[in-house]
Symmetry: C2
Subunit: 321 residues, 2 copies
């Protein structure tokens, strides 16, 4: 019996109803793992998992991580937890610091404590490039320091990394920390591409771009993100394994604006609000060194430019445009 033909050990996926979590849940189910999703559906959508639920390969656990809900049942007998749940709205966290403290740091603490007390020994975590704050080194390697995140969201990601490291070293667990570039794909509700599409739907004559448009970041398609995490799971076995996950190219926000406008017929006027940051907490330049994950043999199928184009096309279709 191969791993893909069923009967792998159960795994927990938090945020499994989210845009990344749902793809990961399908991949894990295909590999034969019974999947247990924990999600509060604050931004996730349960219909993404309906096929897996219907076929009995996935159980859904509604719970609000970070506020003490009971998640122990989902962990019983599981082999690993993939912790992807988070507040997806960085600006919201700046307005109310409690949001990322609860949905980020305290959620991670709850997940780790559930894992420890249930003897779940492997923890995979969706961290972010924002832990680097505004780095002075590009591409930014995993060894970059000091880590000075600029948003509450970033602080919660770094705090979560720290908790994983402490748990792994203290209690015989192992951890995989993935610092994501901008992940794009179907069903994304936050980020520059959904933002532009929604603005043009409201007013097709103009597109307001936050900042000077020179912000430039790397974009990774969601299936590449999941394949990178799975590759690291297979091939990397330190106590704590830290990987950047991204592509080797940047796309400027100005360029994305032009592509979105072109997709709408090219008539909208692009207006920049100015300033280096698009919004408080924005990291205007992001390019991660991915040599560590590339050395494991992983390659992204799509480069940043292709991922952006696919995200624009997908987003338009989803909005019925």
């Amino acid at each position: 019996m191969t791993a893909s033909s069923g009967a792998g050990p159960p795994v927990v996926v938090t945020g499994g109803a989210g845009a990344i979590g749902a793809v990961l849940s399908h991949v894990l189910a295909e590999a034969g793992h019974p999947v247990r999703v924990i999600d509060n559906l604050s931004s996730g959508r349960r219909d993404r998992l309906r096929d897996l639920e219907a076929s009995g390969r996935l159980t859904f656990h509604a719970s609000d991580l970070g506020r003490g809900g009971n998640i122990q049942e989902a962990f019983r007998g599981a082999d690993a937890v993939w912790h992807l749940a988070a507040n997806p709205n960085i600006s919201l966290g700046t307005q109310n610091p409690r949001i990322d403290l609860e949905n980020g740091t305290l959620a991670m603490a709850q997940v780790l404590e559930a894992a420890r007390t249930s003897d779940v020994r492997r923890v995979f975590f969706a961290s972010s490039s924002v832990v680097y704050g505004m780095p002075r080194e590009f591409p930014t390697p995993e060894s970059y320091g000091p880590l000075l995140p600029e948003s509450q969201y970033g602080a919660s990601k770094l705090a979560s990394e720290a908790l994983i490291s402490a748990y792994c070293h203290s209690y015989g667990m192992r951890g995989w920390i993935f610092r994501f570039a901008n992940i794009v794909g179907p069903g994304m509700t936050h980020g520059v591409i959904p933002d532009f599409l929604q603005k043009l739907r409201r007013d097709p004559t103009r597109l307001e771009v936050l900042g000077d448009g020179r912000q430039a970041k790397s974009y990774l398609w969601v299936t590449d993100c999941v394949s990178g995490m799975r590759r690291a799971e297979e091939a990397s076995h330190d106590v704590v394994n830290v990987f950047n996950l991204g592509t080797e190219q940047q796309v400027a926000v100005r360029d994305i604006a032009q592509r979105v406008v072109a997709a709408f017929g090219g008539t909208a006027r692009i207006e920049f609000t100015g300033g280096r940051q698009g919004w408080p907490g924005d990291i205007p330049l992001q390019l991660l060194s991915v040599s560590k994950i590339l050395a494991l043999g992983w390659r992204p199928r799509y480069d940043s430019s292709t991922a952006v184009d696919m995200a624009i096309a997908t987003g338009r279709a989803e909005l019925g445009l």
Copy 2:
């Protein structure tokens, strides 16, 4: 009127009844700042502050940080907060991860939120060399990464650093983060020297040393620690300022054991439990690069060896030995 002759703006010191906090509180009071101490007296002692309280230069606020107690009054009209409160017992945090989550991370979050809502714009924080985990570079610079702490205590320190960085960048505050080497001085209740002294008091014939005794760390006398923090306050004005604080020499645990035994007449047998780490979460090798703080003109008055000898003499006197 000079700053030292009185009437500076009020400052908040959390953990101000602790061994470091009480020294800092005296220095700040001498510089003319009305001092407001927040302490739960779990390991601090209010008698350290009695002179300042009696002279009206210090007000004491009993509060348990991290569990939602009201601390707003202490912050009203203050100019800065020095956050030193912490669980001093790293091993205890390994037994119960809730302790450092509450006394470390959540305490920091509460302090920062009180500062933000009271318009207190400057935050000074006692972090620790343990944020580096087991570094592979000695002396370890502030730019070392990745930061993989091995204890819950270390995780709470790194999480606190992350929160400071996010608050400073999001809300117009400024932060000073001090990663301490082993700080020694009067009234210390935790660490290798009090541990050895208490063991020899119980049984003067033998001294059990946790680990192989080859653990080697740098030791900084408490007044040097405080002068280093004050120097950085004066001379460093980035949004977030990260400084290692220590000396440039290591002393081995084996050496400390011999010195303590010698101070007791030299007859006790030293027995090593073996193993690289003294206890779970112990970081056996620690030597911080202090070139960044030295470049500001700060010099420690005492080197590691002298600080250790002074700590042994002080600890003996305190135990009446």
